[in-house]
Amino acid sequence: MSQQQGLEITLEFGGGAELLFGNLKKHQVTLPACEGKWTIRSLLTWMKDNLLKERPELFIQGETVRPGILVLVNDADWELLGQLDYEIEAKDNILFISTLHGG
C-alpha cells in the first residue's frame, strides 16, 4: 500500500543525542510520500540526509543506530516492535536517547 500524502511524525532526542540535531530536542517532520511503507530503517536514511547536522557516525552505524542509542516509539522500546522493520504510522512519536554521555 502506498502513501499518497506525506507522513507527519514527531522526532525527539535526549541524553545528548540532540546535540547532533542542531541542539533541538523536538522536531516535527513530514516524511515524503513513498512507494510502500515508511519503516525505522528508511527513516534513519532520511534523517541522515535531511536532519543530521554533524558527525553522522555518532548516530548511525551501517543501517541502524549506533549501539548505545535507545529508540522508543510512542514511549515503548523499539526492541518490542521489530526495531528497523517497525512500520511508521501518522502521528507517531519516535524518541532517540543516547546512553553514551556522562555518568
Binding site: 548505545g68 522508543l72 514511549d75 526492541e79 518490542l80 553514551l100 556522562g102 555518568g103
Partner: protein
Amino acid sequence: MPVKCSSSCGKNAILKRPKTGDALCKDCFFWAFETEVHNTIVSGHLFKKGDTVAVAASGGKDSTVLAYVLKVLNERHDYGLNLVLLSIDEGITGYRDDSLETVKQNRDDYQMPLKILSYEELFGWTMDAIVGQVGRKNNCTFCGVFRRQALDRGATLLGVNCVATGHNADDLAETVLMNILRGDIARLQRCTSIITASESEGSIPRVKPLKYTYEKEIVMYAYFKRLVYFSTECVFAPNAYRGHARAFLKDLEKIRPSVIMDIIHSGESLQVKDDVKLPVRTQCTRCGSVSSQELCKACVLLEGLNRGLPKLGIGKTSLANRAREQQDAQKTRIVNCDF
C-alpha cells in the same frame, strides 16, 4: 499490536529487559529495577542501619538515578540511612558548572544535603588550568586521579560511613576488559568488588549499588520517572581507551546479550595465585591516602604541576625520578651561581 507485559498484569509492555529479554510494563519495570538494586544492597551488605552515606553526585544519569533509588529504597525498606550528596567541582567551564546546577536540583528534589568540593580548594588547580599546562592529551589521567582523592577527602570531611558511586554493569564490564588488556592484575582484582577499601585500611569504603544494573535500564528508568540529569560530554577529550572498550562490548552484546554479566562474572571469578607478587597497599608519605607507592598518584601529579613538569606522574616512575633530579640539580646550579 502492543506487546503485553511478561508478568501478566494485563498492561502493555514498554521495555525489553537486556538481562532477561522479558517485556515489562512501566510499573512492573520500576518494581523489578528497584527490587534488584535492593537485593544487591542486601546481599552485598552494603549498608548498616544508621550509616551516613554520601552519594557521589555528578549530575549525570547514573548518580541521579542512584540518589533517587536510594531515597526510595531507604524509605520503603527502612534502611535507616542518612543520605547526603557529595559533588566534586573539577573547574571545567561550560561543563561542570552546568552539571552542578543539576546536582542542586537533585538536592532540592530529593531533600538531601549537598557538599561541593572543588579541585581548586583541594589541590590549588582547576581542570581548566591543568589543561592549560598539560594540553588535552593526558588531562583525563589528572581528572580521574584527582576525583578519586577528592571524593575520599570529601567523605572524610563529611564524616560519612561510606561513599556510594553510580558505576553500572556496563561501566564495570568495560573496566574489567580494560584491566585485562592493560595486564593490570591488581586493579582487575579490585574493580569488580562491590565494596572497595575496608575500614581497616584507613580509607572510607566505596560501594556500587548499581553494579548489576544495565545502562539501558538506568536511562529508561530516568526517562520514565522523568528524572532530570545532565548529559553533555566533557568538553575535554573523552577517555578514548574506555570508548574503544565500550564500542567493543556493544558489538559483542549484539551476538551475545549476556556478555556484560558474563564479563563481570569472569572478573569476579578470577583468582590470583598466592605466590603472585601484587603491589602492597600502604599509605602515601605525603598525604596519607592509600597508595602502592611511596607517593600516591595524586601527589606525584600535583608535584609535577607545581614544578612545571606536568608529565611527572604520567610516564614510568624511573623517568619521573630522573626529571625530578635534573630539575633539582639545575636549581642547585642556579643557587650556586648566586654566590
